[in-house]
């Protein structure tokens, strides 16, 4: 309960009401319905026409299937998402032998979300036997048994999978990383579109949707806010003319204003084109130290900052092209991996 409260507070959710869970799935659902029915002393919530029941372990549900189960519930009293079976279902005998195998084509797996007219599902739970309450799993079954409501079945998508095993956590993490790595916003301090900056952008576009380039950051940060609300979690800040982090620091300030608490880590790659022959080691080390300190600071706001030096070999255009190409691969892989331990590093292409 405390964990849930802290999540709601942290992300400033306004329309969430928490209800104490019960000992079983059905008891928990019933507790939620009671609050909506106005049976609960402190409840201020109006009774809805339709309720959706969903599992927290299916976080990738799409809006489309929610709309379809709600619409079907309005028309038919109850509706639930179904999926084809992935394995054959069999009936074992009491001593552990195969008794019967069911025809896979004639059966479906019942998944979530499900939607009900409030009256239907509330009446069903009010009449529910103790046995159903304790051992039952299927809400559609309760609506059928106690209210004679035949649920309309709606084909769901593979997104409705349950995060059950450790492998599912791995998959969920990769899916989220994949989703937030789809777009990058490139920011430069130069208007020069041709040359290596243009080439770098071309290469990035092949891998990721590049969202737009602003020559300088808008002082009030409104542009950035728009980018951010468009679900862009990745920024590449190209410093062509300055070798310090001025532009990057500015971006980081703006980011903090635009999105004070981001659900996902934001990746910022600070790119510097540098002629390695013209810089001193002590200068480099000072910058690396600065970069590390800055990265440590912004990590608290869930911003992952990485540095990338691209060797600007003016006298060798072929080598330069190769370096830019490697730089693009490094940027893409930093964004996709979002490795928390590598923040503050200065990579070299």
């Amino acid at each position: 309960m405390d964990t849930m409260k802290s999540i709601i507070q942290r992300y400033q959710h306004q329309r969430v009401t928490l209800v104490e869970a019960g000992a079983t799935r059905h008891q928990s659902i019933f507790n939620g319905l009671k609050v909506l029915a106005g049976d609960h002393p402190h409840s201020q919530l109006p009774t809805p026409q339709v309720v959706i029941i969903h599992d927290a372990v299916r976080p990738f549900v799409e809006e489309d299937v929610l709309v379809r189960v709600v619409t079907a519930a309005k028309d038919h009293g109850a509706a639930g998402a179904i999926r084809p079976l992935v394995s054959t279902v069999i009936t074992p005998s009491a001593d552990g032998y195969l008794d019967q195998s069911l025809d896979r084509a004639k059966h479906r797996a019942s998944e979530m979300p499900q939607a009900f007219l409030f009256d239907v599902i509330y009446r069903a739970y009010c009449q529910c036997s103790d046995y159903d309450m304790e051992f039952g799993t299927e809400c559609l079954h309760l609506a059928l048994k106690y209210c004679h409501t035949k649920a309309k079945l709606v084909e769901g998508s593979p997104d409705l999978w349950k995060v059950t095993y450790r492998r599912d956590l791995y998959a969920a993490e990769s899916i989220i990383k994949d989703r937030i790595s789809q777009q990058i916003c490139v920011i430069t301090d130069t208007k020069e579109d041709a040359g290596c900056i243009g080439f770098l952008q071309e290469l990035l576009k092949k891998e990721i949707e590049v969202k737009g380039t602003s020559v300088t950051l808008c002082p009030n940060g409104r542009d950035l806010q728009k980018v951010f609300q468009g679900d862009c979690y990745n920024f590449v800040c190209i410093n062509m003319r300055s070798s310090d982090f001025q532009e990057t620091s500015k971006l980081l300030d703006e980011l903090e204003n635009a999105a004070p608490s981001s659900l996902y880590p934001v990746a910022v790659v600070s790119v510097h084109f540098l002629d390695f022959q013209n810089v001193s080691f002590s200068e480099r080390m000072k910058e690396l130290k600065e970069m590390k300190d800055l990265a440590k600071e912004v990590k608290k706001q869930n911003v992952f900052l990485y540095g990338l030096l691209i060797s600007f070999t003016q006298d060798n255009p072929q080598q330069l092209q190769e370096n830019v190409r490697q730089g693009a691969s490094i940027i893409t892989s930093l964004i996709k991996d979002r490795n928390a331990e590598l923040t503050g590093q200065l990579l070299v292409a």
Copy 2:
């Protein structure tokens, strides 16, 4: 077929025979059985007592369940792995409404592997109707229908999951990365066990099983071969006294001899303790260039080489401890991520 042949050749499998697939699952299985029955003109294979049927999409099967289905098949003629149902199974009516929901506790999902006495499954396939051949999915069902053999059902583990969707590929990749990141072999060029090397090892041990430290590499590589055969895919080479890559180069040579073709990428982290105040920038850049070239070279043998400089602040032991701590985190995350694009980089702690 060519892909399979090239895999067999690449990893030098000696005991694999390929058989052309059929248009359906059952036809493919039958093709395999025919070769074992000696019906095939070029077949040299003896007919076995028991055959195991398995899906390539279940790559994480454990030896234990294979033993159990084979043993049960010897006793009962047929056996298959089962798992609890993850969703309720329902029967939809023709017009898409809920007709019936099955009691989850009374049913199981039939998975692979399955095992059969050769005679039982071969006789079943020989009698199989065209309809079964085309639309059937369940081998246990064929044994029951055509040979009246009631399969013994064996409880399987969650490892038997099917790699079906994109999310499953993500999960499979993470599971493999996880498995090959369980052990590291630490190699140093100094006998000094106390101080920062000892501390670094302590920290690594907290995250990963550290497999053993050899002061110098054994000249004939026999030690390394043993480590390698013990499924160790990770090496940390600590260069305390030299700032060049001598020790690391030696390790890489040995690795190439010990494991000319590794199924998984081998991660090598070359760690250097360095007093940053005593090195010149041009020297550093030369080394970085060397590291990059070396990394590019060994990547062809599926070895991922990363460099890590740990700042050796002799006058500030607290800072040194902090640096070593960060170094350990970087090593662990490099090994776990196995990012191909970051090979050849020189990270700094």
